[in-house]
Symmetry: C2
Subunit: 332 residues, 2 copies
Amino acid sequence: MKKFNVAVVGVGAVGVEMLRILKERKFPVGKLKVFARSERDIYVDKDSYHVLKVDHHGFKNIDIALFAGTEGEKGAAVTYASSAIKQGAVVIDNGADFRMEKDVPLVVPEVNPKDIKKHKGIISNPNCSTIQMVVALAPIQKRLGLKRIIVCSYQAASGAGRSAVKELMAQSKAVLDGKTVKPDALPQQIAFNVFPHIGGFQKESYTSEEWKTVKETHKIFHDDKIKVTATCVRVPVATGHSEAVYIETKKAMSVSKLQNLLSKSAGIEVVDDPKNGKYPLPINAEGKDAVYVGRIRKDPFVKNAYWLWVVSDNLRKGAALNAIQIAELLIK
Amino acid sequence: MKKFNVAVVGVGAVGVEMLRILKERKFPVGKLKVFARSERDIYVDKDSYHVLKVDHHGFKNIDIALFAGTEGEKGAAVTYASSAIKQGAVVIDNGADFRMEKDVPLVVPEVNPKDIKKHKGIISNPNCSTIQMVVALAPIQKRLGLKRIIVCSYQAASGAGRSAVKELMAQSKAVLDGKTVKPDALPQQIAFNVFPHIGGFQKESYTSEEWKTVKETHKIFHDDKIKVTATCVRVPVATGHSEAVYIETKKAMSVSKLQNLLSKSAGIEVVDDPKNGKYPLPINAEGKDAVYVGRIRKDPFVKNAYWLWVVSDNLRKGAALNAIQIAELLIK
């Protein structure tokens, strides 16, 4: 079996998950190089990795360079992707910097795998909250057609990186101890609180996270006529994004057929037996690969309108796993 | 000034808040009787109250009987309201049992104060998540007309009573200590988790909480043509419900005019300067009276469609305060 030399750039929450998933899925790795801002040794589970300081010359003989991306600032791909490409690598970037560029495919393997072929050296991984939503909606888009998507998110701290999870835990302990807390990694207190502020505030008073949900969905579905709108909210959960997704479709389908359609679709696990307490939960999604969908129901008052409750591990399907699935497509 | 004899039935989270607010607002209380399942003395802040065991004969000479209601089961009003009325009291019930009855006004004083006049002995207080939403939407309903409401809630543990708050805190501590936890007062783990399950599952796979949002909104606005739909979610917050409310209106208004309209409306405080980190937060709403509204914005793709982020203290405006405002209307 052919092997591929792989670089992972970044060893934050997503980079570490990339190392874990490469191993779990037995990706045919020849030589593995791990890069970050500074040289050091790290442990992931029981495996040690020697991390090199990233520079422009490190990508010689690398076939696939996985950039973990950075929350809230420019990712390393902005600086190093062109060097990696020049040295022969294909870049798969989890950062937000190239996603909307015309020549850069934005790929979710269950949804738009063919887009990968159009790449000119960089393939972008969509935003975490977009990925799980489009996986859940792709079968519906194909069979019924989507007219509108109105989504409210319940996003975990780890979407803002490892420091945000530490802050959630440290703040929670402080609040329980009756101490006052001050936000640092996140814009507001995250312990025992929620806030509608992920990313920066932009046009129309949408956050960057909310715009990503709109624009990335349009690009992945190749349809900018779908009326997408979002409110993105951070909640005190460590890992696992949840979304209440309201859709209007062109054609109708019964709820039971919809459950059946989704349960047979790639990447989706339907958990929808609410009377027995079965619906997706972030604490159950952590560490898992699937996009979990439940609470599938019709709006009794609006034709062809449905609710879905969509939960997935934002570090895995929402980031590292999706990137490695792109790499798997690439080497096929 | 005329004084009124008041009974408070129930000394859970809402009952205690009723005692606190009667005092804070200097309600002209003559004799105060406090009832619960068992006789005991309780302290609220620095005041002690002697609690009597509730029975059918305790409402003699009571003018106003405030029933705190019970989450998830029949409230005491089911058993005792008729006795209280026979003995001459007007019942203001925070429980869900009578809200949809034809002869029972369902009142939010800022929204439909005149409905109070139609009472036949019982006036119902709406559900917490409905109250804050209709306060925020009433000025819009009046000026623009409402066609649709699509709401996702982020509801605090205290909505399920004091035991749920204790569970949130105890579970959070246990998780931080690396222990496994088991839900008891709430249907799922609440620490570092969210779940779309408030109340029981009913018709169309909606929860009772979701149906309340639909039906109570129709009754309060006297308009069952408004297409209301909801996903109600419990989040690990102690007190303060948040709601991402998406609306479609009949007429249009600019965002700045909408901000202005709401900021001049009764019961609302607009907190909407997101670039400076100002938007409503549950931790800031706790213990306050206002319904806080922020993140007011247009859907760029849909005519006459807007988002609001609505936060309020579910024990105060969502329950005890609203009930006492009804009592204030009653004695005017």
